[in-house]
């Protein structure tokens, strides 16, 4: 029997189990969504080639454990025929995670799923010095824990008050948790230095007097494994995807250029210096 290239298998999403000749097959997901047809395909493959169960991973992925090495090719083919792709492991861009966002959730400020799809199409599987995780959360509630990711994106609003629509009902003054709003001489005054772009004034206003422009709050260098560090915010809220992708490209390029093999993004930034990283990101932001 030819020597098994475990590394190649791992890159293709086959994780070696402690049981001899058994692999847990990682599948591709985007933003935590799967169609019922994909689920049925996964169920059939697990029943036929696995042991009839699947594992939900910590990052919205699905794995089919107990797949035999000899079955790798038919398993891949049957999954493919059912619209399911295999995932990735190793030093590359991993599953792009997302909450349900504004398409489903009343709290959502941005359409997380379409953004996750765009990011996944652009970067998923791209080889890098170490793993690289994108995570997208729709609002300040942060259900998807943006700052745990190498690059985290959080939805927010840039808000504007419309005096004509306002009845001074007082709801926004209390909905704001940051003390950014006060009422003075028949006007609502926004203290921009206190505003966190959470958009709660927009969501709470009964009269549509607060308008919110969706935007992306980006954090860099988060990790939550052996070492725990929260991603840091460098830029103001970004209001268009073109700028967002320029910034994301710059972050990935910085990682590619500066990191040593097997060095995480955060460690590379720290070794090279936050100042240098900040300069590269700000340059991309300005365009």
């Amino acid at each position: 029997m030819a020597e098994v290239d475990y590394k190649a298998l791992k890159n293709g999403g086959f994780m070696r189990q402690r049981q001899k000749n058994r692999f847990s097959l990682r599948l591709k997901t985007v933003g935590g969504n799967l169609t019922v047809d994909q689920l049925l395909t996964i169920a059939e493959v697990s029943r036929k080639y696995g042991d009839g169960h699947v594992h939900l991973t910590s990052r919205q992925g699905v794995e089919i454990p107990f797949v035999k090495l000899d079955d790798v090719e038919p398993v891949k083919a049957e999954l493919k025929a059912g619209g399911v792709d295999t995932g990735v492991c190793g030093p590359r861009v991993r599953t792009v995670t997302a909450c349900q966002g504004s398409a489903v959730c009343p709290s959502g400020c941005i359409d997380t799923y379409s953004l996750a799809t765009e990011i996944s199409n652009r970067y998923f599987g791209h080889q890098l010095p170490h793993k690289f995780k994108f995570g997208i959360t729709g609002c300040m509630n942060n259900c998807l824990k943006a700052e745990e990711n190498d690059l985290g994106i959080k939805g927010g609003y840039t808000v504007k008050w419309d005096q004509k629509a306002c009845t001074l009902c007082g709801v926004c003054l209390k909905a704001c948790r940051d003390g950014a709003l006060t009422q003075k001489d028949g006007k609502i005054v926004l203290d921009e230095s206190r505003c966190t772009n959470c958009g709660r004034c927009v969501k709470a206003c009964p009269f549509g007097a607060w308008k919110g422009k969706p935007g992306y709050i980006v954090s860099f260098g988060g990790m939550f494994g052996n070492r725990i560090a929260l991603g840091r915010r460098i830029l103001p809220i970004i209001t268009d995807r073109k700028t967002l992708f320029r910034v994301a490209d710059a972050a990935v390029a910085f990682f590619e250029k500066h990191a040593k093999p097997s060095e995480r993004f955060r460690s590379a930034i720290e070794r090279v210096g936050w100042d240098k990283f900040r300069a590269a990101i700000e340059e991309a932001y300005r365009g």
């Binding site: 007082g170 209390k174 909905a175 948790r177 709660r200 969501k203």
Partner: protein, 81 residues
């Protein structure tokens, strides 16, 4: 409270989230469309969240007033299906 005729009142200062909203919702159900409910609630989480939840249910919020005793009064006009 100002220019609005109040048709019913409910006090939700004796319950906590999420029962605050539920109690307000039940009180609204007892009114007819177009009638106004006065809801007394605590400062903090209730006043941050209950007005938005009632808005999301489709009712019309009229006014939020600070009672000066750590409670607020919210006036809501019932909007039917």
């Amino acid at each position: 409270m100002g220019d609005f005729q109040v048709d019913g009142t409910v006090d939700i200062t004796d319950v906590v989230c999420p029962v605050t909203f539920v109690k307000a919702k039940v009180a609204l159900e007892e009114l007819k469309d177009g009638q106004v409910l006065s809801i007394r609630m605590n400062d903090g989480e209730p006043v941050q969240n209950v007005p938005r939840s009632i808005k999301d249910e489709g009712h019309q919020i009229l006014k939020l007033a600070d009672n000066g005793d750590g409670t607020y009064t919210l006036l809501v006009r019932k909007v039917g299906e």
